[in-house]
């Protein structure tokens, strides 16, 4: 009984953290039509920011980290990405890859490649029946769920969200109607960067921090976005839950290595059978270049 309860709680925890990353990735893909390879590395930056600020109170460090992430996003978008939007799908892909590599190497140069760890601010355990589970994970998972609900309400229930969705659907038409695409692009990228950095900062106390930690989150996050309906912002979150649900089930029966390869095999199969996910990015890419 308690074993299954723990599996359930683990599932909620991993879904919440992946959901946040997938949401930020889907936001960039939807609005900027960019496959941002650097998203995982932005998470890594969040984790290192928390490590660098580990002597401050956790919430203060978290706030500084998120603000830093927002500014970093603005700098990256204004400084690099906006120059390559019209150069086509491949160029933006390579540009974001380059950004990710620079972030990885930059962090390695500053902090060295050796593993770092930070302590969670809450060390207590929540007891449910005969199972105790770390309070930190419970609080963070609930916090992320709340944040995602808030963000989705913002997107679907406010005029700001309406303008964002209009811009995602048809950026030229939205521009004609007075929604500046440039400002929208910059704000969306900065917000998405801040979210990725936040995700990295929140999981930092539970993992070993190293410059390549973002890689292991990138592939599942992409699949979460791919299996979602095109342009939908709730979709990647649902995708993340689906990915983690299958992964959790597989891991319950199989070794992690086998579970992981089976998961990616299944996801690839899904994308082949339900190709809307890929075809729309491809079409968009063609439209952008023509």
């Amino acid at each position: 009984m308690s074993a299954w309860l723990q599996v359930l709680l683990d599932f909620i925890w991993v879904s919440a953290s992946l959901g946040l990353v997938a949401f930020s990735l889907g936001l960039i893909l939807g609005e900027l039509k960019i496959v941002n390879i650097a998203q995982g590395d932005l998470m890594m930056v969040g984790a290192y920011s928390m490590y660098a600020l580990r002597d401050l109170p956790f919430l203060v460090a978290l706030l500084i980290t998120v603000v830093f992430g927002f500014v970093l996003g603005l700098v990256l978008e204004r400084g690099i990405l906006r120059w390559v939007y019209d150069k086509g799908f491949m160029t933006t892909l390579l540009a974001s890859w380059g950004v990710g590599t620079v972030l990885e190497q930059g962090v390695a140069a500053i902090f060295t490649v050796s593993q770092k760890g930070i302590d969670p601010p809450l060390t207590g355990q929540v007891t449910i029946g005969d199972l105790s589970y770390p309070t930190y994970r419970v609080v963070v998972a609930l916090g992320i769920v709340g944040l995602l609900i808030g963000l989705l309400l913002l997107v679907y229930r406010t005029s700001l969200g309406l303008r964002l969705r209009a811009s995602i659907d048809n950026v030229e038409m939205a521009g004609v109607l007075g929604i500046s695409p440039q400002r929208m692009f910059a704000m969306v990228f900065a917000a998405a960067t801040a979210l990725a950095v936040l995700a990295g900062a929140l999981i930092a106390p539970t993992i070993a921090i190293n410059p390549t930690l973002g890689l292991s989150f990138l592939a599942p996050a992409f699949f979460a976005v791919l299996i979602a309906k095109q342009g939908s912002l709730a979709g990647p979150v649902a995708g993340a839950i689906a990915v983690e649900f299958v992964f959790t089930l597989l891991q319950a029966w199989l070794n992690v290595t086998v579970a992981e390869s089976t998961l990616f095999g299944l996801l690839a199969l899904f994308v082949v059978l339900k190709p809307q996910g890929i075809s729309w990015t491809w079409k968009t890419a063609r439209k952008e270049t023509s």
């Binding site: 074993a3 723990q6 599996v7 683990d10 925890w13 991993v14 390695a108 060295t112 490649v113 050796s114 593993q115 770092k116 760890g117 302590d119 969670p120 355990q125 105790s132 589970y133 770390p134 930190y136 994970r137 999981i203 106390p205 539970t206 993992i207 070993a208 921090i209 190293n210 390549t212 930690l213 890689l215 292991s216 989150f217 959790t248 891991q251 319950a252 070794n255 992690v256 290595t257 579970a259 992981e260």
Partner: protein, 421 residues
């Protein structure tokens, strides 16, 4: 200083040290004062080095040249950098005491990123263009195999520093300085079985070394009358260990025998602590090496492990090594691979001087059966002439808060199955 230089792949010589070209330079107060900027050599330690040096019977007409290859970036960079720290410290001490055959040792260094293809290229370049007399380094087994192939073909002696061999490198020019998987498992399995119980659960990173290491452990588990209730593997770079931890909690083993290494050792330990598996469970194995301790946040305090080096070993040589290492690289437990790289230089010196020439074949043959003093023991350690592996007296240690591996049992030398048929 050496660290930075060597990172860039520059040729690194110790030309700064004055008066080093004469045979057996007396270690004066001036030397000590001069060395204070980099490392401190105590007079007691220096005289030990001096006596080692006194055996030199010939003066070479050029410097002995070593090619140092190590993964200084990439997934096993923590181990690679620790090895480089120890190597540089050993080199400084060796050159401060006069080098090999009266000449300071010259070193070229290059990063391999733990990529076997890069290892092969770098080693080839070092042998053909840099004309090195010997290669030292590599961490993973894939790197070792790649380097062994190139060096053996060229007849160049090759020193492996990292631990974990489970087979011998027969008909090769390899010298094995690390402790092997038999050293690591043979004393530990019966100790844990007797202390905590006979139900073992094995967990490891999913690549060749942990599989082989846990394979050796299984032999001793069977011999101790124990059972393996489950065997879990996860790929290197696994961020989330919840599923494995849930399985372990459900299985309730008496002992978790872990071959999880690299950054994953830290992630696994921290999550095991926060998910309530630790500190209650008994965990042991190479996952508990001092390399990983500082980032684990006390998760493995109180656990037992089998090691060949502990900072608790009590002799002047070790005191001097500890002081120099911490002065140069900061506090925290000294990585095992760092200590091995440090004293490996002494074996190299002894072998080359016994060979009486830089002839590669003679130098390799001279390693067989050679002895050298190390910080590990008051008695010299010896390289087994058959499998060319240093024999180690092993210790079972309990990990103290703060990272001291306190010796609780001296095991002595371990019989292994590394043989050449």
């Amino acid at each position: 200083m050496d660290l930075e230089d060597s990172k860039k792949g520059n040729v690194m010589t110790e030309s700064k040290n004055s008066g080093g070209n004469s045979l057996m330079p007396p270690l004066t107060r001036r030397t000590v004062v001069r060395g204070a900027g980099g490392m401190a050599i105590s007079l007691a330690g220096a005289s030990a080095l001096g006596s080692l040096f006194a055996r030199s019977a010939w003066a070479a007409d050029r410097s002995f040249k070593i090619g140092f290859v190590a993964p200084l970036t990439g997934p096993v960079a923590p181990e690679g950098l620790s090895m480089q720290n120890g190597f540089n410290l050993g080199l400084e001490a060796l050159n401060a005491a006069g080098g090999i055959a009266g000449k300071k040792v010259e070193v070229v260094t290059q990063d391999t990123k733990a990529d076997p293809a890069v290892v092969a290229t770098v080693v080839k370049k070092f042998i053909q263009e840099e004309k090195v007399d010997m290669i030292v380094g590599t961490i993973t087994n894939d790197e070792e195999d790649a380097a062994a192939k190139v060096c053996t073909a060229a007849g160049v002696p090759l020193a492996f520093i990292e631990a974990g061999f489970w087979h011998s490198f027969c008909n090769s020019t390899c010298v094995l300085f690390g402790e092997n998987s038999y050293d690591l498992c043979a004393p530990l399995v019966p100790f844990m079985a007797e202390k905590f119980g006979k139900k073992f659960l094995l967990i490891g990173s999913d690549f060749s070394f942990p599989h082989a290491y846990l394979g050796v452990a299984k032999k001793y588990i069977a011999a101790a009358g124990g059972t393996v209730i489950d065997e879990l593997y996860a790929p290197l770079g696994t961020p989330d260990w919840s599923s494995s931890i849930a399985k372990i909690k459900a299985a309730k083993p008496d002992v978790i025998f872990s071959g999880v290494v690299g950054g994953d050792a830290i992630g696994f330990a921290k999550q095991a602590l926060s998910l309530g598996l630790l500190p209650g469970a008994h965990i042991t194995g190479v996952m508990l090496q001092p390399e990983f301790y500082p980032a684990m946040g006390g998760a493995i305090d109180g656990q037992f492990d089998c090691v060949r080096y502990s900072e608790g070993i009590n002799n002047p040589d070790n005191d001097q090594f500890k002081a120099a290492y911490k002065k140069k690289y900061g506090e925290g437990p000294i990585p095992l691979v760092g200590s091995t790289a440090y004293y490996a230089m002494r074996f190299i010196k002894a072998a080359v001087e016994k060979a009486g020439s830089y002839d590669k074949k003679k130098v390799f043959e001279a390693f067989k059966g050679i002895e050298a003093m190390t910080p590990l023991s008051d008695k010299p350690l010896k390289i087994d002439p058959t499998n060319v592996n240093v024999g180690y007296p092993m210790y079972i240690c309990q990990i103290q808060p703060g990272g001291l591996y306190k010796i609780v049992q001296e095991v002595g030398f371990v019989k292994n199955e590394l043989a050449c048929g």
